[in-house]
Structures are given as structure tokens and as C-alpha cells.
């Protein structure tokens, strides 16, 4: 029994270290990852000026936005607000991450529509829990239990690691690709990195 789909997660964090870690956590959890360095880049990727659906510029539907709270420029909270105010993007679940457990901040984010607030450093169990939660929400008749999801995920990973059965690996667009684009109106170019 295959998973109906792999979740596509848009991760937003200004820290190189944290982006790399969250990317790894998501890949292990069998999610496609697009990692960007700022709220501005995230909105660009999502097509703020009005795509018909919650597609990234590379046509991959975004199932979850995982964003750091404290970022220069646009904070995670401000990004959350913009997403929830958008008729096109508001249905995408948004989860906020922060290294600070400040209750008024957490309340504010949840009130604004954040799905959850995760304390950094984020653990693999947090990511898996999120994945299961989103998967349950995404499928209409998705009766897959967490155990099933985990089994399918680890089978997928075994196939990916085994060079004799190489299927097409999940594309990972990293911030390096998106960062390299100039700040102008030029469309961001997508590059898939293998592995």
C-alpha cells in the first residue's frame, strides 16, 4: 500500500544550520522539501500575486509551511498573517518554530491560525507527528494508520538508499538555489538537487 502522496513542505528559516537540519528531518519523514531563507522568499515561491492554487513556482502543491518565528525583515508571525489573509493560501497549514517559549507569542500565533507551535531544536518525532496530522487531513478516504505511514516511509527510504533500485529521488530545492537569484522581479529558477 503506497502513501497517497508525499507531502511537500515549505520550510522557512534564516539560519543555515536550522534549514539544513529541518530539511534532513523532513526528508527522513518522506516529505519533499523546499527550504527558503525568508518570509519574502516564501511568499515569492508561493506566488503571492495570485496563483490559482497553493502551488509553488515549480508546480508542486505545498501541503505545509514550517516557519521560524524570529527572522529579520518579515517575522514568522507576519508571514503567517499574510498567508491567512490570502484567499489563495489561507488553507495551507502553518506551523511556527521558535527557540523561545514565550506564552503570549504562542497564543498570538495560534489565534492568527497557526496549526502548532514547535520549540527548537525541532525533533524527528515532532516532524513525524506533523506529517501524520497533515496526511490525515489531506486524504478524503485516507485511512492510513500511523504505523502504515511509517512502514511505507521506511520502505521508500530503503529503496532510495539502495543504488540497485534507484527510483527518482525526491527533489529538494534548497535555499542555495533560491538565494542565488537576484532580488529583482526576475522569476526564481528552480533547480532540483539529487540526493
Amino acid at each position: 500500500m503506497e502513501m497517497a502522496q508525499e507531502l511537500h513542505v515549505l520550510a522557512v528559516d534564516d539560519s543555515h544550520v536550522d534549514r539544513k537540519v529541518i530539511e534532513r528531518l523532513l526528508k527522513i519523514s518522506c516529505c519533499k522539501v523546499t527550504a527558503v531563507e525568508s518570509g519574502t522568499r516564501a511568499l515569492q515561491y508561493l506566488g503571492l500575486d495570485g496563483e490559482k492554487s497553493s502551488m509553488g513556482i515549480d508546480g508542486l502543491k505545498v501541503n505545509l509551511i514550517l516557519t521560524d518565528y524570529s527572522m529579520p525583515g518579515m517575522t514568522g508571525y507576519e508571514l503567517l498573517k499574510k498567508i491567512k489573509e490570502s484567499s489563495v493560501l489561507s488553507k495551507i497549514p502553518v506551523v511556527i518554530m521558535s527557540s523561545e517559549k514565550i506564552l503570549p507569542r504562542i497564543d498570538r500565533c495560534l489565534e492568527e491560525g497557526a496549526e502548532e507551535f514547535l520549540l527548537k531544536p525541532v525533533k524527528l518525532s515532532d516532524v513525524k507527528r506533523l506529517r501524520d496530522f497533515i496526511l490525515r487531513g489531506e486524504g478524503d478516504d485516507n485511512k492510513e494508520t500511523e504505523k502504515n505511514i511509517e512502514q511505507v516511509c521506511s520502505r521508500k527510504r530503503k529503496l532510495q538508499d539502495d543504488p540497485t533500485t534507484q527510483s527518482i529521488p525526491s527533489p529538494v530545492v534548497t535555499a542555495h538555489d533560491i538565494e542565488s537569484s537576484p532580488e529583482s522581479q526576475q522569476p526564481l529558477s528552480k533547480q532540483s538537487k539529487i540526493g
Binding site: D14, H16, V17, D18, V21, R24, S70, P121, L124, D161
Partner: protein, 137 residues
């Protein structure tokens, strides 16, 4: 020969944990490694070095002359602390927190003193981790 290296690496890691240089976050990162990604932790730590060099430089510049923007100093140290926390650099993280306390108290001399401690802990950890990764390879 291989086994001895592995034993030495394990022993060193244990020692780094016991002495509080590293905390369990480092272990969590190692658990994310597999045959397809055997150097993940070292790659993350390399990013940490790059980021840290930048943070340290910026804080150093900000500490040079008044007027001192304590909010800005606090924010820069917050970022450094975040990276430290993400790799499990426990002692560095502690020093960062103390620096932030001095920022809150608007105590520039306190900040400067503790900053020396931050740099020292960072340098010590960097040396130890470089040795550790060499053993690991």
C-alpha cells in the same frame, strides 16, 4: 585499527557529553545519519562554523564603540545562541545566555567580558569537534 578508531571516537564523544561541551541535541543529529548521509553532522557543524564566524565578527564590531545598541547586540547573540543550540553546543549556548543577560542590564563591560568567554568556549569546542570528526572518518 578501524575498531580502535571507532572506540576512541565513542570515548571522546562520551567525554564531551560528560563535560558538558555537548548535549543530547548532538546525539539527535547523529541519529539522523545513515549510509546515504554518513557525514550529515559534520556538514551541519561546518555550517555552524561559517555562521559563527560571521556572528562573532558582527558582535565584535558592535562592541567596539558606543553608543551601544543593546537590543541589536542581544538579537545578534540570540542568533548565535540558536545555532549553538541546534548542534548541541551546550557550553557555548550558556555563555550566549549570560551575554544576553548583560545586554538586558545594559552592562557593556559585562558584555565584553562574557564575550571573551563565548569566543573561548567556541574555539575549544571547534578544536575538540575537529579531532572527533577526524577519528570518526
Amino acid at each position: 585499527m578501524e575498531n580502535q578508531k571507532k572506540r576512541q571516537a565513542a570515548y571522546m564523544k562520551r567525554s564531551l557529553l560528560d563535560q558538558g561541551y555537548l548535549d543530547e541535541q548532538f546525539i539527535h543529529l547523529e541519529e539522523l545519519q545513515d549510509d546515504a548521509n554518513p557525514n550529515f553532522v559534520e556538514e551541519v557543524v561546518k555550517l555552524f562554523y561559517t555562521d559563527s564566524a560571521r556572528y562573532v565578527r558582527n558582535i565584535e564590531l558592535a562592541l567596539e564603540n558606543g553608543p551601544y545598541d543593546f537590543a541589536r547586540l542581544d538579537n545578534m547573540m540570540y542568533q548565535f545562541k540558536g545555532s549553538s543550540s541546534s548542534i548541541g553546543a551546550r557550553r557555548v549556548k550558556r555563555q550566549c545566555s549570560q551575554f544576553q543577560e548583560y545586554c538586558n542590564a545594559k552592562n557593556i563591560d559585562g558584555c565584553r567580558n562574557i564575550f571573551q568567554g563565548v569566543k573561548q568556549e567556541y574555539a575549544t569546542l571547534k578544536t575538540k569537534l575537529e579531532t572527533y570528526f577526524q577519528m570518526e572518518r
